[in-house]
């Protein structure tokens, strides 16, 4: 992260998105569903190579991250951010969103700084997963796979959509994972029921889609996954594709795959979480 900041001549990143905060700090804060307006929840300073996390407690925050305390007064939060070592002298400050209020407050607290799009840097930095991060996603994939098995069993015995959602979410939490990346998506077509499951385990996502009662994976899915090789463009995969990591990552159609990228690949009736490697793609949700 800090290398990428220095390469792009970025002094400070002020991050509001929980996935960004999670990716740079490893902090496990209480999960809230849905998007939230920008607020400074995590700060990365290139000069000190320090990561600062907004949290009242150190519980769930790795010991190599620093804390700064929350306030209900946005001006106080910005003052605290401006007071972090290396921030006051920053000239180039990347943000991953903004509100009219925080724009005014940041401009006031950091009058010499230029605010610019920090999200494109975060996207680049988060794109390739380390082996440890892939292991985290593998862990999520295990939960996604066991959750969808329960969901399909439920669908096969005639549960309605609410019932399928209920047994799936119950099964996910019984595995110790209490956060859905998205709550079960259910589509019916005659006797077949397609269910998509996405979980966030310790902040890392995996998702899988299958169809009851047959449960086999569509040939089109295997064909699409076979095209998930280093060097291929996203548009060439011939499926719905997005990146996964600390949540959903948007990939553009012309983006070229590289080893270490993790993709969600789905077609009608089926989908998997796939690791791009030096060789054959590794389907993480086939367990």
């Amino acid at each position: 992260m800090v290398d990428e900041m220095r390469r792009r001549d970025v002094d400070v990143l002020v991050l509001g998105r929980e996935g960004n905060a999670r990716a740079v700090s490893g902090a496990h804060r209480l999960f809230l569903a849905g998007e939230r307006a920008f607020a400074p929840g995590c700060v990365v300073v290139a000069e000190t190579a320090a990561v600062h996390v907004l949290s009242v407690t150190d519980f769930g925050v790795p010991s190599d991250a620093n804390l700064y305390p929350p306030s209900w007064n946005p001006a106080v939060v910005v003052e605290r951010v401006a007071g972090l070592p290396g921030v006051a002298s920053a000239r180039r400050v990347g943000v991953d969103g903004l509100t009219p209020l925080f724009e005014t407050l940041l401009a006031g607290a950091l009058p010499e700084a230029e605010l610019f799009d920090g999200e494109s840097l975060m996207r680049t930095a988060r794109r390739i997963k380390s082996p440890d991060e892939v292991d985290q996603i593998r862990g999520a994939a295990v939960v996604a796979a066991s959750t969808i098995a329960v969901a399909l069993d439920g669908a096969a015995r005639g549960l309605d959509d609410n019932g399928v959602k209920a047994v799936a979410m119950e099964a996910m939490a019984a595995e110790g994972t209490t956060t859905a990346a998205f709550e079960p998506l259910i589509a019916r077509n005659g006797d077949s029921v397609t269910v998509a499951i996405g979980v966030l385990r310790d902040g890392w996502e995996a998702d899988v889609t299958r169809t009851a009662p047959r449960r086999d994976r569509p040939d089109e899915l295997d064909a699409a996954i076979a095209r998930c090789r280093a060097g291929a463009a996203v548009a060439e995969i011939g499926a719905r594709v997005h990146g996964v990591g600390c949540g959903y990552e948007v990939l553009t159609p012309d983006e070229r795959l590289e080893p270490g990228m993790v993709l969600s690949v789905s077609v009608a009736g089926g989908g998997d979480t796939v690791l791009v490697t030096d060789g054959d793609p590794d389907v993480l949700t086939l367990t």
Binding site: R29, L30, V56, E119, M169, E183, C246
Partner: protein, 349 residues
Amino acid sequence: MDAEGVDVVVLCGENNVAYATGYAAPSQEPARASATRTVALVTTTGVRLLTPAPLDFEDGARELAAAVSDYPGTLAIDQYPSMLVRSTLANRSPVDARPLLAAAKFVKTPDEVAALRKAQRINERAMDEVLPAVQPGVRDTDLSALFFRQIFEMGATGNTVDPIWNVVPMSLADAPFTFTGHLPFPLPAVGRVLEKGDVIFNDAGIDFNGWASDFGRTWYVGTDPDANQRSQFEHYLEIVAACLAAIKPGATAWDVAVAARDANGGERPWFPHLYLSHGIGTDSAELPFCGTDLGEEVESQVVLEAGTVLVLEPVVWEDGRGGYRAEEVVVVTEDGCEPLTDYPHAPYG
């Protein structure tokens, strides 16, 4: 909008879109919600919804700017999802839509109160099934599993917050670090096995068609409360009664906080990093806030009106003897307030 001299309001936040249009986004993690968001363009004569390409990229930002260009005049916006959106709308010099939204959200219509009540009922009926399972040997995440099963069977459209089953120590010395020196509530469920004698502060919130619930109780694991714990609960009721007596049209947010503090011997009976009370609507926590670090100057300007909804969450704490915390949702009426929460305080009744 007329009052603020605004011609078009651009709403990018999903809770604001739900409030203004009734369109409730699916419940999902923030990055997915952000990439797939539906934006509302609101004028005094209508609402236009659009789901642009992801706003982190030129295509999406341009798509949004093009739609906005159909609406001349003063533009207000709730947030910039990306710096690209900020720069593509710069020529419109947007003003902040949040004061306008806050003013509108502050008073709930009868239909909105009914929606909140419906969400609250689903949350409460789910807890009926969870409570008997609060026993030694059960993991906190098992309680989450039971809760999920119940809420979705009853038609909840989302779970808003990871359910909290926060085992609290008797003494702050045994709690993780906090800047305030008080408890670090709420802590997420982590698979902790409950033990006989544990005290848990529970907190949960669901979504029903865009409207939020908020539920909080203190439960004792495998034991009946002792005399100290009973007196803590009695004191909790005294604080709540003082708050309820203070809540009426014309009272300020600060008045409610003062009432709670006075009922607690001058000490504030709430977590110092949180508040005594918050509002609730399409956001799980919104104005009015009572007892935040914004203090008297700000909170004495916030005047309750009939239709304002508050969630009281006082905390009784006796260091060395633990404490009691619960939540009561109330709506301000013409001459006082009435509860939206309808749930006993087990095992007291």
